[in-house]
């Protein structure tokens, strides 16, 4: 195999990534990705002075490494065979590259625009004339929902093709929230500006993205975080997982009109996010995680407080969960709704909850450990049915698992280091990949620097990038009235996708 293997959060020289002729690149990537344990975590391009460099990162879950391969091409009029034809999981990456750089992937089923990035190759394509899939049938009807919704959610347009109450096809059109974050990473050069950007990639995964950026930046600068910083980040990420999962369970209850579950779980989420408020002054943990350390270490008083929060949380949580899992009217809504089978999730390459719900083991915490998971061995929880209930159960078990980790970790007592802004500069001509497991799934950040150590490209991949297609496939042949509950059980990010 002509690839370079690196570990999670390792910095290397960009020139050490093998540059292959496209047919060689194509053969190697398809050979590697043929295995179920290898999947593409990022595939992106950037302009060099007179050519383009495209890097593909394939994570290998078995040995905890990432295979790096790349190819170069001219800036314009490039046409190459599509990887998607061999392996559908590449569809979104090739669409993105096509949109941004105009490379034509021959054989790709549909190179539709992804998010209408401002610096896209073809400015003539606009969101107003998005190429929807059309039907010409008297018996079928189209239902369009959004981009403005009845609930307090983000903008996105869903177009259903239905036969009566049954959904035959769903097309999801995003891009309304594009902010040009990746571009902002290059223009905003202060470290505090960049971490603030990282926190706002997806507002509900502030800890996940901020940690991914912090680990990446420290690695790029050749800095090793102190034990207390690692503890702070790891605790914050698991706490975020507990808080959001609890909120999601409450929302699932709302969507099937189960009032008791909604009100109890909604109440249980509050102490978790309020703990962030106590800890760092923000309920969503913004301004909390910083590269090179943080102002907010986990003090003994806070640990005591967290213990008492768990003591209050657990009995109530167990009571409501026991009630939910035995309530026939609730189960009849969740079970066998929105099924996505194992073969399908492997084929389209989902990550995180959307993979584990159908028995596909994708969990960065166990495959490419970071932070405290280097010591605590994580075993990913897997469910096999791939329905709404699997995703609900998965959330339940992950909450319990994460509480277990937190209880274990807060017994650790690392020395608390005072936080100093480091003057370290990123290494020149380097490449770093940093992955963390956000509550939604795998987050991947990649950075490439130039000869002065300035960022050439900062590539972000939110788990939603892979998973939106899973939602579109899961709703097929379900009733349209079950769409909200299926959507909620995936709970994907719009802004994480739109960037």
């Amino acid at each position: 195999m002509k690839s370079l293997q690196v570990t999670n959060q390792q910095t290397i020289l960009t020139e050490s990534i093998p540059v292959l002729p496209y047919h060689d690149f194509f053969a190697n990537v398809t050979a590697l990705a043929a295995s179920e344990s290898v999947h593409c975590v990022s595939y992106f391009g950037y302009y060099l002075t007179d050519e383009m460099h495209l890097i593909c990162c394939l994570a290998d879950d078995n040995d905890g490494t990432v295979h790096l391969l790349s190819w170069k091409c001219a800036k314009q009029n490039v046409s190459v065979p599509s990887l998607t034809e061999k392996n559908p999981a590449f569809y979104i990456f090739e669409r993105e590259i096509h949109e941004n750089f105009g490379i034509n992937f021959v054989g790709h089923p549909w190179l539709k625009p992804v998010r209408y990035a401002w610096n896209r190759a073809d400015i003539g394509k606009t969101i107003a004339n998005y190429p929807f899939f059309r039907i010409d049938s008297e018996e079928l009807h189209e239902v369009g929902v959004g981009p403005i919704h009845a609930g307090i959610i983000e903008p996105g347009h869903f177009r259903f093709i239905c036969s009566g109450e049954r959904i035959l096809h769903l097309e999801i059109q995003l891009g309304y929230q594009h902010r040009g974050i990746e571009q902002l990473f290059l223009t905003k050069s202060k470290i505090n500006q960049r971490i603030a950007l990282a926190e706002s990639i997806a507002g509900d995964t502030a800890c996940g993205h901020a940690s991914a950026f912090s680990f990446l930046w420290e690695s790029l600068c050749g800095y090793t975080a102190s034990d207390s910083t690692i503890l702070q980040r790891s605790v914050a990420m698991e706490l975020e997982r507990i808080a959001i999962h609890t909120g999601d369970l409450a929302a699932i209850c709302t969507d099937v009109a189960y009032q008791l579950g909604n009100s109890v779980l909604g109440r249980l989420r509050t102490p978790m996010v309020n703990f962030f408020q106590e800890w760092c002054g923000n309920r969503l943990a913004k301004g909390f995680i910083r590269p090179f350390g943080s102002f907010y270490a986990l003090t003994p008083e806070l640990k005591q407080r967290l213990k008492s929060i768990f003591e209050a949380y657990e009995p109530d949580y167990n009571e409501i969960w026991n009630r939910m899992k035995t309530l026939p009217s609730l189960l009849s809504r969740l079970e066998k709704t929105g099924i996505l089978k194992h073969e399908k999730v492997v084929e389209i390459g989902t990550v995180g909850i959307s993979a584990r719900m159908a028995g596909l083991n994708r969990d960065i915490r166990s495959s490419h450990p970071y932070g405290l998971f280097n010591e605590t061995k994580h075993r990913a929880i897997l469910k096999n049915h791939g329905d709404v209930y699997s995703r609900t159960q998965l959330r339940n078990e992950e909450i319990i698992q994460s509480i277990g980790y937190l209880k274990e970790w807060i017994e650790n007592d690392p020395e608390i280091m005072p936080f100093e802004q480091s003057e370290l500069k990123p290494k020149a001509n380097s490449f770093t990949i940093s992955m963390t497991e956000g509550w939604r799934g795998e987050i991947c950040h990649c950075a490439v620097t130039d000869k002065d150590g300035n960022l050439l490209v900062y590539k972000i991949k939110d788990p939603s990038m892979h998973n939106w297609l899973a939602l579109a496939l899961a709703v097929r042949n379900n009733e349209i009235s079950d769409f909200p509950i299926i959507n909620k059980s995936f709970n994907l990010s719009y802004c994480g996708f739109d960037l």
């Binding site: 009109a257 009032q259 809504r333 909200p484």
Partner: protein, 298 residues
Amino acid sequence: MNVLLIIIIALLFPGLINITRSLLSGRKGPGLLQPLKDMIRLFRKGSVYSNTTGFIFRIAPTISFAAIISASLVLPIGPWKALISFDGDFVFFIYMLGLGRFMSIVAAMDTGSSFEGMGASREAHYGMLAEPAFLILFGSLVLFTGHYSFADIFTTMRNGTGFAYGIGFMAAFLIFLFTLVETSRLPVDDPRTHLELTMVHEVMILDNSGFDLGLILLSNALKFAVFGTVIADFFLFEASAWVAIAIFVGIQAVIAVLVAFVESFMARFRMTHNPQFILSLTSLAFLIFVGILLFLEK
């Protein structure tokens, strides 16, 4: 007097349901008069009409409201006779409600929105399935009592034997379930999730605003009180006016609290299970019919 009582009940009891639901989920809840205040607020506003709607959309809320008021005219309450009473008035009653439903369906279709079309098709489907239950039930009662109007049927039922009371309870239970279907309550419909794709009644009125929306809310509240009155009528024995009012209000309150309990402790049915549930009402009505046949040895 009857219509007045029904209107008072209609104005107060949605508030009672909300309060009970809130208490059951550990919250304080809005005041008893909140739905009334909402309606008053809406009545003071003008309506906004979209360009795609025609005159049907504008007159529909008024006709629906009038239909429900007309339906309430034939209902007796204990010592007070119905304003209008004639043989076969229960058929008039159910079809007045049917007219109200028809108007809201065509108004929803008039907007041309795909959501409202979906809601309208569901409403028509469920209405079609629910209607036989009511007619079979009252047909059986006609057979049982030998009378053809609400007033006579209820009087005979109340003065009947133990068997009549048994039938009365079953009929009351049936009408309670019927009420859940007709007034878009859980487990058939859930207006509160406010998801366009899952609602039935609520999705049909998305385009209505201001005065029209107020009328629709009031009509829905009235519908609830009207069915409550039918249930209460099975239990209103000959008593003085005040006792009758007390029993009437009491029974309506019990219904409101029961509805709140159902809504708090269970999830909504899957859309495909709704027809099964609604058809089971008809089978219950058949059960009553067969019971009466056996009793009368016909």
